[in-house]
């Protein structure tokens, strides 16, 4: 990034190729829509490029990148929320259409015999559990799990104190536990390794 700041556009191109999969990966789980995630990621890179001359390396570049991504994603969700208030009141489905996890949960009620889920079904269940978290909790979980960020880095990314991140992640993990524990204890899922 420092090379890009000095005008080396080749370095910025390298930055895009190095971080694009990680960024789109986190955004896709955050907004639950791949195309929206790619659009947001493009916006993130464009914003960073435009602001490159003012960049100061006060934190890791990934912290800077995900902080911008989180801000843009929050704005996008806020705009979408406003539109939904006007256009789509009371929609049952998630942003990817009908939630398969809701159907799966109904099927796996106590009246149904225990069955073993395949990977895609379990992914839908996990995605649904993730969707039940609020925006900050979800972002903190994604950064912690997939970016392996420390609490300090998550705090810098989300503009929170470390204590707040600790509390945020605790609540998020507790919510995930409540949602996912039945699938673990009833033997629905055994990781394939």
């Amino acid at each position: 990034m420092l090379r890009a700041k000095k005008g080396d556009d080749g370095a910025f191109t390298q930055l895009v190729t190095n971080y694009q999969d990680r960024l789109v990966g986190v955004l896709a789980h955050l907004v639950q829509d791949r195309q929206t995630a790619e659009d947001l990621a493009q916006e993130v890179f464009l914003k960073i490029y435009k602001a490159r001359h003012g960049y100061e390396p006060t934190a890791k570049f990934s912290t800077y990148l995900f902080r911008i991504a989180n801000n843009l994603a929050s704005n996008r969700r806020r705009d979408r929320g406003r539109k939904r208030e006007v256009n789509l009141p009371g929609a049952e489905s998630g942003p990817l259409g009908a939630r398969p996890a809701e159907q799966i949960l109904a099927e796996s009620s106590s009246l149904m015999p225990t069955r073993h889920f395949d990977r895609s079904e379990m992914q839908a269940v996990v995605q649904d559990a993730l969707e039940s978290l609020n925006d900050n909790q979800r972002m903190a979980v994604l950064l912690n799990k997939f970016e392996e960020m420390s609490y300090i880095d998550i705090a810098a990314t989300l503009d929170l104190s470390v204590a707040a991140v600790k509390s945020l992640l605790s609540r998020a993990r507790e919510n995930l536990r409540v949602k996912l524990e039945p699938y673990v204890t009833q033997g629905h899922w055994t990781p394939q390794g």
Binding site: T13, E38, A41, L46, Y49, L130, E174, E181, W189
Partner: protein, 168 residues
């Protein structure tokens, strides 16, 4: 029967931080004591850990093939359509490529010239032997005859030629 120990709010928060390796030594020891004395806390930690592993089952995402080019194009458009990659770097690379092509051409030309020269103008031992083949096959007879004048005289004698033909 194990005594049920209620976890404080702080201890509950610390369970996750403990799993993440984010607690200081003192707090970590406190959690370990709680875990040693509370089956409920042990169950909670186990479930937090196993459900956290499930989150890792979410599929990885890779960008589409067009993503990089579209992103670079959008950046190029933002700066007035100029290519994102440094034009100086392009011209430097072009000059380098041109130099390399010329060097290859010169080296290749020199190679071809050398090959032709060694084949056409430098005597080839095998070729010389082929040219002198007839002389070499009769070399013993020429040595026996002694000199060229004697051979010419022998040539003029018809009987000698016929006898020579019979011997072949």
């Amino acid at each position: 029967m194990a005594k049920i120990v209620r976890l404080s709010k702080e201890q509950r928060e610390n369970l996750v931080a403990y799993l993440d390796g984010e607690l200081d030594d003192l707090s970590a020891r406190d959690i370990e004591q709680v875990l040693a004395s509370s089956p409920v806390a042990r169950h909670d930690v186990d479930m937090l850990s196993r459900t956290w592993d499930l989150v890792g089952e979410l599929p990885g995402v890779s960008v589409t093939e067009e993503f990089t080019s579209k992103t670079l194009e959008s950046i190029a458009a933002s700066r007035g359509g100029a290519p994102l990659v440094d034009p100086d770097a392009i011209s430097r690379n072009s000059r380098r490529a041109l130099g390399l092509a010329l060097s290859t051409l010169i080296l290749g030309g020199a190679g071809v010239t050398g090959y032709l020269a060694t084949n056409r103008w430098i005597p080839n031992e095998a070729e010389e032997l082929l040219n002198d083949f007839e002389i070499l096959t009769d070399l013993d007879k020429y040595r026996e005859a002694g000199d060229i004048d004697t051979l010419r005289k022998l040539q003029e004698i018809r009987e000698f030629n016929e006898a020579d033909d019979d011997s072949r």
